[in-house]
Symmetry: D2
Subunit: 345 residues, 4 copies
């Protein structure tokens, strides 16, 4: 039986090259074609010496494949993806271009009018923990942003169970690879090493995604403040989410904590890539793999829910989740090719 | 004119050795005696080669001085400080032992009954921006904790002006030196490098300090959730504080932002060590010096105040602030010995 | 067919836990028993949350297995290993206790008289690139040190071809995980972050291993200076080796460089875990996998050989190489379970 | 008495901004004018928020000053410096443009014909430890490169005393700020964090400087291999230098080590910025200050000299040494403005 042929558009960013690494280890698909812009014509291994010889040359135009990952930047990605979808290919788009259901959000947050609003309803938001059933039959999957993945998985059980008021603070701490491989002073080693800073205080583009999904889970008019921070490490996002508990939903004291924990354990009981931890998790425990670790607790003094989540922003936050989605789309076991453990220490 | 003789109890922790570095550069006082426990008998420079030859040997018992810094751990520090205060010496206590006005907080947060509750009202909380007048005549100063320094300075103007509801989230990100020089797995390089984690989710000891001072500023029954995080850098604390704006206190839109900014500028207008910045600040911009950078803004979508503050946890968060307090206690110019700029990059 | 049962003595150090990670992914063996000292009685996953549920409890005493990895410290390891060898088990000893053929080196370098000198000739030095044939039939394998692995692989082709005088400088730069999981001030985050230092200038214990193997390759009375350095990263060793080229062995200029490169390519042509690179390699390109990257070049001005090698000290420098050795001992394909690519960036 | 007015050409690189930081603290000179290219017109403090308000705007053209620091890149720097020298100003050139005495080295190493070869003999190589007397009367000082500063100070006493054969290996490990503030993939955080690599294996431009100065100290036709490495930290260079000891120059064993140490102590006995250490030094012990730490030792097995030196590449390796030179040129005490201790940890 021949393996499904897959391709990567724009392999040369960090999401793209992480896809290549993970797909190389995938037993059921064949990475058959990769494209890049400035690097077109070079062998993949010359640009990325950590990849062993896949025999692939970076091409200007995608070869014949059955499923495509687009790792293009937003706006450009839609231009690549639209004709592929029309041609009947399956597509996982890593960019934001098909994540938001409301086309009017695109000019507001991304500064462009969406070129194919009719595809927005067709596209499935690729968070398997929430949309697994639809993903199995999806042709176009919008892979979630890195921050939304951590934030939504932290809050989903509580929102679904309606135990919190929708007054939500999401404070995220991200490694620098989340800012991509393009050069900038903000990602220059000497500037970001031994430093931490908040950014996008006027509103980060990942906010509407978080709001959209929490609303789908039942949050009424959620009021969400989301502040991302850049910290001096390469991989990982830790999200700390805060919200007031609604009175009477959980028992008081230790018993309430146990109920909360059970609620999370139940919600994620069959999830291969979410683990509810017994102690505050570390991003290091997800380094290089597709797990999301979630730790819910109660600040008893203030009756607030506090949830910590950890992911590797390039795996569960990008390439790993894309492959999880691909597995679902192709009818493969969801964990195929994603079984490796985190690399610690 | 002879310079005032000062001493350091327990010079061998990070706060103690930072005091030695800064006092060495202070033109008006003489570092005359330093003590240590396990290192007693060694020359200071042998233990800390970055210090040039101060001609000091680490002693088991403090020599004759006029003012003492105690850098002992909490509980032990009180034992050292009480007889010194009774003997009439001026003392700046870097530990938590005299920070809380309510003696009953000590068993609750620190696990011991306070040995000299009568001194708690006499002690002045050493945050010059709030208590400058009392510090000038203080005999015993309780130097604030590193997290409270950043959190209180972030929130003080807003609390004082009563523009926020007291539903406060304080999310702090600290470099590892804040955990001290004692060995632990949590501060072992390979464990904390490329990692971020939250800790003390059951309640951190710095919380009652923050609450105490915000109450003094006018916050009524504040409900504060404080979550500290450890990030892979040596120095620096960035605090992100969140609170709902009270309706009608600030104008809407850009005008409200300007009013907020002006309120902060006014509050800190004469402060030599607080700067209200025009852009989100970086801890790197305080590396090695005594500044606190504060950036207040409004999340317009949710009408929440968001304030970022940055300090070097070992300077404004410990040794530098202790010297600022000493300057006030000795009637010296407040900035004496603390003028060096941050070391960037 | 039942899988071979293997065990790990002292799973709680970094080499031990890395073995557990890699063995978990190995399709042909079953990790059946792990031991620890202070952690005995705890579930493996509680001590190391990055490991998924292997269903293993850390035991005080090893269970029934067919092959054992000892990750005990030197001297203690021999005590564990000797009875296992006598009982007929296959053993891969990660410690130094069976690496040196000359028993008299043990008191000199390790401070103890070897308890079983007769086993030293029986033990095979586990560098497959040099001793593959013997490893296939070995009962006791002495897994090489991390520094020797990088140094020997950098120099072996040149020594074997007798193109250099044996006046060798080995300057190595190691990540901090090489210093282990035991606490020390040298591995305390705030001490080693933003720092580099040389150590063991009086002679490092890995020197006799390097000398032993280079002599076996033909170096006559080699005069080797080896200086290790600690740099602020978790994983990786880069070794820079220097030696004078013997006159007349290689052509001059570019042609000599090509001859040198070809000599290295030929030497390592069938090696699955050594790659001769076209550009100076980065340790990052080996992060988490079993590759050794080697880059030989000539300093034309001085007619010296300069070779750079990179490994992950915990994989090719410890646990990965141990599994490579196990594969050979069990007659499995040498790369089994070691195919994952480096995690970049 | 009015203070000497000094200016900085190209303040916006790391050497330039470090000069601004240090000059701000200098009691005897006034930083009166700074220039930049792309940043011209902006306030200095807006580009570099760590600088307190110096009241300076970055200008396109230098204002009226008595002494100029040029922090321009090589080749461009000469164009700026030549007219200033002709106009009679004192100049400290941080670039390489006046370091090499032999004009023919410039096309060979830097790719341009020197525009003013007659100034090369007039320029003084600004390593005060070797050329102090000439610096006092110099009009044009060529500030040494960062690597040469560490390498020459490591080897000078041994070369001068003629105890080594001139078969020298210089293996240097540098923090990333040495690569400057210009963006490149090599200095992109995610690429260089958790990584070490060697570079410039074909010959680094700092080699001819090292050779020139060691020849002046008496080395006959030195054969020097110099390999620089980039390690994941911001500041600091550690250099490890190796050379064979000449027979009969030092006693054998411990006595020889003591003689060596005394030779270094004597050579540097009056130097304010070189300290011969008793243990292998750490770059951290020079973080932010102008010290060079030197540790000479003997590899007794091979009779080789091994010397470790540590500097902060932006201070003793650039801006601090430039101010040390300025102090000499202006007849000020050499240590003026450079007394601050290293910031540890």
């Amino acid at each position: 039986m021949s393996r499904t042929r897959v391709g990567i558009i724009n392999v040369t960013g960090y999401a793209g090259v992480e896809l290549a690494r993970l797909l190389h280890q995938h037993p059921e698909v064949e990475l058959a074609s990769v494209t890049g812009r400035s690097a077109a014509g070079q062998e993949l291994m010359q640009v990325f010496p950590h990849l062993s010889n896949l025999g692939l040359t970076i091409e200007a135009k995608l070869g014949k494949v059955d499923l495509v990952f687009s790792a293009m930047p937003h706006k450009d990605s839609a231009q690549e993806v639209i004709p592929l979808v029309e041609a009947g290919l399956k597509v996982v788009d890593i960019s934001a271009d098909f994540r938001l259901k409301d086309a009017e959000e695109y000019p507001r947050w991304y500064g462009f009018a969406h070129p194919a609003p009719q595809l927005l309803s067709q596209a499935v938001y690729g968070l398997p923990e929430l949309h697994r059933a639809q993903l199995a039959s999806a042709q176009l999957v919008a892979n979630p942003g890195c921050y939304p993945t951590g934030a939504i998985l932290a809050l989903a059980p509580a929102v679904k169970a309606a135990i919190i008021a929708p007054e939500i603070i999401v404070d995220s701490k991200s490694g620098v690879s989340g800012a991509g491989r393009s050069l900038s002073l903000q990602t220059h080693f000497s500037e970001v090493n031994e430093d931490v800073s908040a950014y996008a205080l006027g509103g980060h583009r990942h906010l509407p995604e978080i709001a959209q999904e929490l609303k789908l889970l039942g949050a009424k008019s959620p009021s969400i403040t989301f502040v991302p921070h850049l910290i001096p490490m390469t991989r990982g996002i830790l999200t700390t989410a805060y919200a007031p508990l609604l009175p009477g939903k959980l028992a008081s004291g230790k018993k309430g904590e146990e109920e909360l924990r059970q609620l999370y354990l139940d919600f994620y009981q069959d999830e291969p890539f979410v683990r509810v931890t017994e102690a505050p998790p570390h991003t290091k425990h997800t380094w290089g793999n597709n797990m999301c670790l979630v730790y819910p607790t109660i600040d008893q003094r203030t009756e607030r829910l506090v949830v910590i989540s950890c992911i590797d922003n390039l795996v569960k936050g990008a390439a790993g989740q894309a492959i999880q989605n691909m597995n679902l789309m192709l009818g493969l076991a969801e964990t195929t090719g994603l079984e490796t453990l985190a690399v610690y220490p």
